[in-house]
């Protein structure tokens, strides 16, 4: 945290706009590069949850599927905390 950021917090000012610009850019570029609209990503997220939920019980509130970009390489990153494995019969049925 920089001195500026601490002062912003203390004085309840809006944070400097450069960090907002950076965050917005990273998000929009991840979508541009992968050609995935937020709606499509959302649909894919729901379907991934459905598939995974067949095998393990996942914590839907904590789970997240998002696009991350580093060095022009975009990755689909899924973080799905498992509560407990489902019974075998259930996964087969």
């Amino acid at each position: 945290m920089t001195v500026r950021e601490i002062l912003d917090k203390l004085l309840r000012r809006q944070p400097a706009s450069a960090s907002t610009a950076r965050d917005r850019l990273q998000l929009v570029l991840a979508h541009d590069r992968s050609d995935l609209s937020p709606e499509l990503l959302d649909q894919m997220r729901r379907e991934i949850f459905e598939v995974v939920a067949k095998y393990v019980e996942i914590d839907l509130d904590e789970g997240d599927v998002s696009l991350e970009t580093e060095d022009r390489v975009t990755a689909l990153v899924a973080n799905l905390p498992i509560r407990r494995p489902l019974a075998v019969s259930q996964s087969e049925g």
């Binding site: 001195v3 706009s17 450069a18 610009a21 950076r22 929009v28 570029l29 541009d32 590069r33 022009r72």
Partner: protein
Amino acid sequence: MASTSRTILICSGKGGVGKTTLTANLGIALARLGLRTVVLDADFGLRNLDLLLGLENRIVFTAQEVLAESCRLEQALVKHKQEPNLALLPAGNPRMLEWLKPEDMQTIAGMLEKQFDYVLIDCPAGIEDGFKNAVAAAKEAIVITTPEVSAVRDADRVIGLLNTHGVKPVQLVLNRVRPKMMASQEMLAVDDVTDILALPLLGLVLEDEQVIVSTNRGEPLTLNGSSSPAARAYGNVARRLQGDDVPLIDPSKEGRGLRAKVRRLMQKKIF
């Protein structure tokens, strides 16, 4: 015959970020280093490179007449009076309705490469036909952008397309940097832009009112050895292209005195 000719596309995606100004100034700067340089205006619908170089009244023929064999290449090349190492070739005439094809641009670039050390192609804005024509002739590229979200986003699209076309190396020039705004973190930092676009930085040009003055006159800043910040930056880009190790300026070190010190203190990371 220039055996080591380099054909460099200067592009940005977004319009108005400084492509044509960079092409004109870099062309002059390279010519002043003694290199035979030609600047090819690939934007013939809205061409402006002639205006920035002060050559708008001297264009008779364009690359289209050369391709149609209604004139020789030498007749279409407009030599700069003060800097004879520099020539301009407009791709076409705004009145012409016949569009060039990517193969035409390759043919013209091939002809120019035989006579010049540097062929700089001023790319039209956008990623449509004009860009596709220009990119077909390019071996390497310089992407120019400003530290603004829209310009960086468009630059990213263009970089993706350059990669698809196998153009490399692709290097970055960051234009219109305002050190004060960067210091108060109200403008994307240099590292933010280079990290996001993942390109090596070839040049960093500070916002400079002298650019507008030089455009008014049709005399690029690099022409008369101006010492303004932008003139120095363009000159440094030319030298780096030639392989000289010229250090980049540090925007945070621009500006002295108490105000600058306080700004730097505000940027300091404490945890």
